[in-house]
């Protein structure tokens, strides 16, 4: 047992088995307690809905995917620039940081109706919500990365007569990379959440929209199918950035 827990395959096998067990218990519970489908559909009927509505599910998840990635992309660009600004300039830190913190405390779901008024019920509110949720952790982490460069490391460079730009190239930037990647995997999950929230409030497509529509039609198995697809997408997005992180900053320990 000890040996198995330390092996690499354990980290795949155990969650997989747990999922299977969960679904089995669920299926049995639905049958034994005769739970009606519009309260809690059984895994088998969810699977049925998954197969029946595959084209709709794919089309809507593609929409969710690209709004998420677009919002996330914007968040990376803005977050990295803001982070470097805050990290390097005392002026920018004192001026912008309190505003960012204040803005970040606003629940983004509350902004979506406004976005819908401004842009209509389409992909734009979802993209913007994804961006709004994702840029803050990136900006904070970049600033944190720059701030935590060991002073002695900077001294070594300065004593050699390195310019500000060289110091940034040689230590500031590489030192910040692990912080950036740590924030990317969080930010991409946030962007995904933001996009789905927005879709469920004001949109004309996307998985969030699909789930709201399905529940309105009392097609609860389809709503659950949408949830399952959301979970799978979320894990894939997170896993993708974990993988990139491992590849690029292999030296971080």
């Amino acid at each position: 047992m000890e040996k198995f827990l330390k092996s690499k395959s354990a980290s795949f096998v155990l969650p997989f088995v747990a999922t299977i067990v969960l679904f089995a218990v669920w299926e049995l519970a639905v049958i034994i307690f005769k739970i009606p489908q519009f309260n809690l559909p059984s895994p088998s009927s969810i699977l049925q809905a998954l197969i029946e509505f595959t084209p709709q599910l794919i089309a809507n998840s593609m929409r969710t995917l690209w709004t998420t990635m677009l919002g996330f992309g914007l968040a990376v660009a803005v977050g990295v620039v803001l982070g470097f600004l805050i990290g390097y300039s005392r002026l920018a830190y004192l001026t912008l940081y309190p505003l960012l913190v204040a803005f970040n405390t606003i629940p983004k779901a509350a902004i979506v109706p406004l976005l819908a008024i401004w842009f209509g019920a389409n992909a734009i509110p979802a993209t913007i919500t994804a961006f709004l949720l994702a840029f803050f952790p990136i900006a904070v982490n970049v600033a944190l990365g720059l701030d935590t460069v060991e002073p002695e490391m900077k001294d070594v460079l300065r004593s050699l007569g390195a310019s500000q730009v060289e110091t940034f190239q040689k230590i500031g930037f590489p030192h910040t990379l692990p912080y950036i990647f740590a924030s990317l995997k969080i930010a991409v999950s946030f962007a995904f959440i933001g996009a789905v929230i927005s879709e469920s409030v004001a949109s004309n497509a996307g998985l969030g929209y699909l789930i709201v529509q399905a529940t309105a039609d009392f097609n609860v198995p389809l709503a659950f199918a949408g949830l399952i697809v959301l979970a799978i997408m979320g894990v894939i997005l997170y896993g993708f950035f974990v993988l990139i992180e491992k590849k690029i900053i292999y030296w971080a320990r």
Partner: protein, 276 residues
């Protein structure tokens, strides 16, 4: 094994061989403390000759590290002045090598690339870096083998022991053939055995480059072993209360530590520290 890497720096300095490389002219230091200025260093005046290895020892808080930072130009002397070849030091000198107690190797670089870092920054090496990369790599490998790290070139810092990291840090401090080597308690975090081993390696490295060496240390044996001259500082506000030339032949060996001469130097310095 003991051969200069190149003769360029030696040739340039031989013209002014009689002049001191560094002159401390009534150097002082104050620090704000509870609303008023507290004097840390009262007055230090001395000069350091080409190729001389000196140590500063003294109680903690007497401004030893500040002296190093003033020489490096990281924090130029606020009172009095330090001159490098007649020029007042007001900003970082480019031809210094520096090593701290914390080796601060860059974790994203392997040992070899860490050692070569100064060559990417200091002219003329920076300009020639791409062209002469092969030659520079050999120089770095050469230094690494002096400290017996030749088999660890491709390792990353987290794969090295504390002593190995510090050895790599010393190589980095010397690769660009600096005229001044600044050492701030470089072996303070190492165990006693490793530390003694490091003394010999540092001496071997330094004898190849033959630059000015300035060592800040708490370890009096280390100061005697490595230095041509030891300066003893008083508690703050500090001055130099004792200086002694260490006339032991080089290369010094760990056996010499047992000699009467060595112990005489050690006990005299120790007495001066204790009496204050």
């Amino acid at each position: 094994m003991v051969q200069p890497l190149t003769n360029s720096s030696v040739a340039a300095s031989s013209l002014k061989d009689t002049q001191p490389v560094l002159e401390f002219d009534q150097v002082g230091l104050e620090y704000p403390f509870e609303g008023s200025m507290r004097r840390i260093i009262q007055e230090v005046s001395l000069s350091i000759q080409p190729g001389e290895f000196v140590s500063f020892v003294g109680p903690s808080g007497c401004g030893k590290t500040s002296i190093l930072r003033m020489v490096s130009g990281l924090n130029p002397a606020p009172i009095g002045e330090i001159r490098y070849r007649g020029q007042r030091i007001t900003k970082p000198l480019h031809n210094t090598g520096i090593a701290f107690q914390n080796p601060v190797l860059l974790p994203w670089r392997n040992t070899l690339d860490n050692v070569m870092l100064p060559l990417e920054i200091v002219q003329p090496h920076k300009r020639d870096f791409r062209q002469k990369k092969a030659e520079y790599t050999r120089m770095a490998q050469d230094l690494l083998s002096t400290v017996r790290l030749q088999d660890f070139q491709k390792q990353f810092p987290w794969q090295l022991s504390g002593g190995m990291r510090q050895r790599a840090s010393l190589c980095r401090a010397l690769i660009h053939q600096p005229e001044i080597l600044l050492l701030d308690e470089p072996f303070g975090a190492l165990d006693a055995f490793t530390r003694e081993e490091m003394w010999s390696m540092l001496q071997a490295l330094w004898m190849r480059v033959k630059c000015v060496g300035i060592l800040i240390t708490h370890d009096l044996r280390e100061a005697v072993f490595l230095s041509d001259k030891v300066y003893v500082m008083s508690p703050r506000p500090s001055t130099i209360i004792y200086e002694v030339n260490i006339d032991l032949p080089r290369p010094r060996t760990l056996e010499m530590e047992l000699s009467d001469e060595f112990n005489h130097y050690f006990s005299t310095i120790r007495r001066h520290i204790h009496h204050n």
